[in-house]
């Protein structure tokens, strides 16, 4: 009843809408607090008459981030990334759980207590893959009990044996000319030959390190813990990208390891201004994510906004970047994607160089790039690598593919049901003849075929490896042939559906193809309702919706709607490479030029000589 009343109140009566803070990208001017202001002075900021202004957004975190913290080097991410205040509040929430309180407590000097505590934390007899190795260290004629704890499988066993346990247990017996009295200092400076090692003081960090593939060494009498990086888990190597294949161009794709992925990008962009900023997402999973940008190119307000959104994500577990995409995108209901989802380091690097921001999630071989315009989604990686006439041929083909995927079934229905006069007579009579024996109305006929096509496609993906292609052949050929001879569909319809399907495969971005496949059904319905009027109704609304949409403050249809300075800058058709002088205007980057005005200096020299 209360629900009913609430619903009634919501739908029946006017209530003042809450005004969400729309993020608007700041004009391409330097904020003045950064060192990199050399590029801004070319005066290109005035190009836009837009009244876009950044609002003093309340949610922006004022504490500036310090990515260069030294003590994070061990884990390869910053475990401190979460705000301490937030943690406190979390603790309060979880106060029923006694362990969470204890986690914050500092480490005891007594190794036995530590051992007991760690056993409790890791439920040791129950937990099979936790390895606790107790041993003793010889130090100045005494033996000190110690133990190491790590996860089996996460660490490199050889590493632990050779450079942690072996020195501690054997080398400690050797006479070393150290003057230290403190065992911690001694161990750190003389015994453990590990490059990445930290001394941690709280359980929380220690536990985090262990969970992340480190080996923790507790020593009696020391209220600190040695956390040695011994990550040695198994992972996939760098392979060819599976979803975004190119003929020309680099052939490596991202893997599942965060640091390898960031290294792949740094390998391409050898730029000290490339910032790899670490953020942990997931209350429990603590999935390390990296936010990449080139500091003297990217718009600062964009960085702040992305950071704000990433930090505002509060979920327990983050597994893949696809999840993150859904959590940070602007409009969830818009059918078209607003984030670029790519597995190619070279593509990410190009976007970074253009002033966009990339987000890499540990464990996901796909990087997210924001902001994304429709045209970014429409471009393929290969476009930039092949000569420009060829690239334009590809683009025309792709545009045509989009048209086919989105509209062909709808237009077919509209024409055959409403606009008979525009089909050439012979073709019309052929269609009529082929439909003569079909018992269904053409809409129904088309829906049958479209649905079965989607079925075949879905089954083809889900089915175990070797059977997949077989199913495709069975589905497409045999089923189609049988359906025609059983007079369930007309042969011309098979062509329509097949062409539509092929068109959807030619769209470079997978989510974009999804969105068009989805919208196709709406156009079928509209085409069947009012012919071309229905289709233009659908197109109008789709355009309105997309025109309204923004991806991180950048309108999705830019530069065509709103029109910006670079209308003819090769979004639909690519310009020759030497003409691509400027970065996209809509990003309001700090440095507008991506190459010198005359990028082919040799041309001038030639003339001079």
């Amino acid at each position: 009843m209360a629900l009913l009343r609430k619903t009634l109140k919501e739908y029946l009566f006017f209530t003042e809408p809450d005004k969400p803070d729309d993020f608007v990208l700041e004009e391409g001017k330097d904020e003045g607090n950064e060192s990199c202001n050399d590029a801004v002075k070319d005066g290109s900021g005035e190009k836009r008459e837009k009244t876009e202004k950044v609002r003093k957004s309340k949610g922006v975190i004022k504490k500036l981030f310090t990515p260069e913290r030294e003590d994070t080097a061990c884990y390869g991410y910053d475990s401190n990334a979460d705000n301490s205040e937030k943690n406190e509040s979390d603790v309060k929430k979880e106060s029923k759980d006694p362990e969470s309180i204890k986690r914050k407590t500092s480490i005891s000097k007594d190794v036995a207590r530590n051992l007991e505590y760690m056993r409790k934390v890791y439920n040791v007899p129950l937990n099979g893959d936790v390895v606790i190795r107790e041993f003793e260290i010889a130090f100045k004629d005494k033996t000190i009990p110690a133990f190491s704890i790590f996860f089996d499988g996460l660490v490199d066993r050889m590493l632990v044996n050779e450079s942690i346990l072996k020195p501690l247990m054997l080398l400690s017996n050797i006479e070393i000319k150290g003057k230290e009295d403190d065992i911690a200092d001694y161990v750190q400076k003389h015994i453990l030959p590990q490059s990445q090692m930290l001394l941690e003081e709280s359980y929380e960090k220690v536990i985090f390190g262990i969970n992340y593939g480190c080996c923790a060494i507790f020593i009696d009498g020391v209220d600190k813990v040695f956390v040695a990086d011994a990550k040695g888990w198994e992972h996939r190597g760098i392979e060819r990208p599976n979803a975004e294949l190119v003929i020309q161009g680099p052939q490596e794709g991202f893997g599942e390891i965060l640091r390898i992925n960031t290294a792949l990008i740094r390998k391409i962009l050898k730029d000290e201004k490339l910032i790899v900023e670490d953020i942990l997402i997931g209350e429990r999973s603590k999935t390390p994510c990296s936010m990449l940008y080139i500091k003297d190119i990217v718009n600062d307000s964009l960085v702040q906004e992305v950071r704000r959104r990433l930090k505002g994500v509060k979920i327990d577990h983050l597994i893949d970047s696809g999840e993150l995409e859904q959590l940070i995108e602007d409009s969830t209901y818009l059918p078209t994607p607003q984030v670029i989802y790519t597995e190619r380091p070279d593509r990410v690097s190009r976007y970074l160089a253009n002033g966009r921001i990339a987000i890499i999630v540990s464990g996901s071989p796909f990087a997210l790039v924001v902001p994304a315009t429709m045209w970014n989604l429409f471009h393929a990686t290969e476009d930039e690598y092949v000569r420009f006439p060829y690239a334009n041929l590809l683009r025309v083909v792709r545009l045509f593919a989009i048209f086919l995927t989105l509209l062909l079934p709808g237009i077919y229905i509209a024409i055959t049901n409403y606009h008979h006069e525009m089909i050439p007579t012979d073709l019309l009579l052929a269609i009529e003849a082929s439909r003569e024996k079909v018992p269904f109305p053409s809409v129904f006929e088309l829906l049958i075929m479209e649905v079965s096509f989607e079925l075949i496609r879905e089954a083809g993906i889900r089915i175990p490896g070797p059977i997949g292609p077989t199913l495709g052949i069975v589905g497409a050929l045999i089923l189609g042939q049988a359906a025609v001879s059983a007079n369930i569909v007309s042969p011309i319809l098979i062509i329509i559906v097949a062409v539509t399907g092929i068109g959807s495969f030619a769209i470079p971005n997978f989510s974009l193809a999804y969105s068009f496949r989805l919208q196709r059904f709406a156009y079928i319905a509209l085409g069947a309702t009012a012919g071309f009027l229905g289709i233009s109704f659908g197109l109008f609304i789709m355009f309105l919706w997309i025109a309204k949409a923004k991806s991180f403050g950048v309108p999705v249809l830019v530069p065509y709607g709103p029109t910006t300075a670079d209308v003819n800058k090769g979004n639909i058709f690519r310009n020759p490479t030497w003409k691509q002088n400027r970065r996209p205007d809509d990003l309001n980057v700090k440095s507008k030029n991506s190459q010198q005005e005359i990028s082919r200096q040799w041309k001038i020299n030639e003339e001079e000589n």
Partner: protein, 363 residues
């Protein structure tokens, strides 16, 4: 309401769209009806005249740039002035939106949806108007900026494709129904540029006067040439007495496209084009109606008003008993008197505001 901004090209596209959409209705026919074979002269003449008057109005307006008509109304006469100006504009919009809605729907009905009831066809246009109003002006202008070049290209394509039927002797006799008929009787045809009144509601969205002037000039030039071309080509293909017959001149032109056995009767493809144009036109008008209403009465939101206004416009559009009377509402009453509101009233407001401002300075 969010802060709206309109770019230069977007404004030009808006100008082109709102002046030129009537090409798809009966503009060329009315031109040839009132000036005979010299309809193209009349078209050029009215376009030029409208342009000159617009330039003059801009000069008057320059000092008050940044304020729209309603602000000026308030400047002149306080709250009553504001409301009077607002009511004039609203009544103007509420007159021609339903008429155009009706005509476009009838247009679609005649072209392709012969059996469907008119309300069914109208609902499609009404649906786009409602949704466009929800999405707001920015979305409308953006779609418009993208669609206008495409629609213009389609329009030019029609004109080019019927090229084999051009016959210049059809433009003879030179002055059609006579010079007096063209140059004096053609004056009320200025009403075809009545949408000008809406553009004086837009300045708050464009920062600089120069941008406003430049892009509206660009729009005017394109719109004028499109209007001129449409009449010219229509008269080149249809001779004078026949040219007054057709309800949908450009549609008739597109029906004549005939290249070989395959390329015939492509008119339905162009249907996509002009239904899109109609949707843009009506959405823009509808949004401006809501915006004017909101601004006149200093309301905080316009969105709750979308549905009631949509219902009113829908009912109004169905009020004329038949198509002929709807066309009469457009081509007779509106054409003869529309300019009084759009040109005379607006100019008066500008002059009054200028005087008021000068007085205020002196004091």
């Amino acid at each position: 309401m969010e802060k709206i901004s309109i770019g230069n090209w977007e404004l030009s596209a808006l100008v082109i769209m709102s002046f030129c959409t009537k090409i798809f209705l009966n503009y060329p026919r009315v031109m040839s009806e009132s000036a005979g074979s010299a309809g193209w002269i009349l078209s050029a003449y009215t376009s030029l005249l409208a342009f000159v008057i617009f330039t003059f109005m801009l000069r008057l307006y320059k000092k008050n740039y940044g304020m729209d008509l309603i602000d000026l109304g308030e400047l002149i006469g306080g709250a009553p002035g504001r409301i009077i100006t607002g009511v004039v504009i609203i009544s103007f919009l509420i007159y021609f939106i339903p008429v155009n809605l009706r005509e476009f729907s009838e247009n679609m009905k005649i072209i392709s949806l012969v059996i469907s009831p008119i309300s069914f066809v109208t609902l499609f246009f009404l649906g786009t108007m409602i949704l466009a109003a929800y999405f707001g002006l920015e979305a409308i202008t953006r779609v418009n900026a993208i669609a206008v070049p495409v629609i213009s290209a389609g329009f030019i394509l029609i004109l080019v494709l019927v090229g084999q039927l051009y016959d210049f002797s059809k433009l003879m006799p030179w002055f059609g129904t006579g010079l007096q008929e063209i140059f004096i009787g053609g004056l009320p045809k200025l009403s075809y540029f009545s949408e000008i009144i809406i553009f004086f509601m837009l300045p708050p969205f464009l920062k600089k006067f120069n941008n406003f002037r430049k892009s509206s000039y660009i729009g005017f030039v394109f719109a004028g040439s499109f209007l001129f071309l449409s009449t010219l080509v229509f008269l080149l293909v249809f001779e004078y007495p026949t040219s007054t017959e057709s309800f949908l001149p450009i549609f008739q032109l597109s029906r004549l496209i005939n290249y070989g056995r395959f390329l015939q009767r492509g008119e339905s493809v162009f249907l996509l084009m002009w239904s899109f144009a109609a949707m843009l036109y009506l959405s823009f008008g509808f949004f401006m109606l809501l915006y004017t209403f909101k601004k006149t009465l200093k309301l905080e939101y316009y969105k709750p008003l979308i549905m009631p206004f949509a219902v009113i416009i829908f009912s109004l559009s169905l009020t004329p008993p038949n198509l002929m009377s709807a066309i009469k509402l457009d081509t007779v009453y509106f054409l003869n008197w529309g300019w009084l509101i759009s040109f005379a009233f607006t100019t008066l407001v500008f002059i009054a505001a200028g005087i008021k401002k000068r007085k205020g300075k002196k004091e």
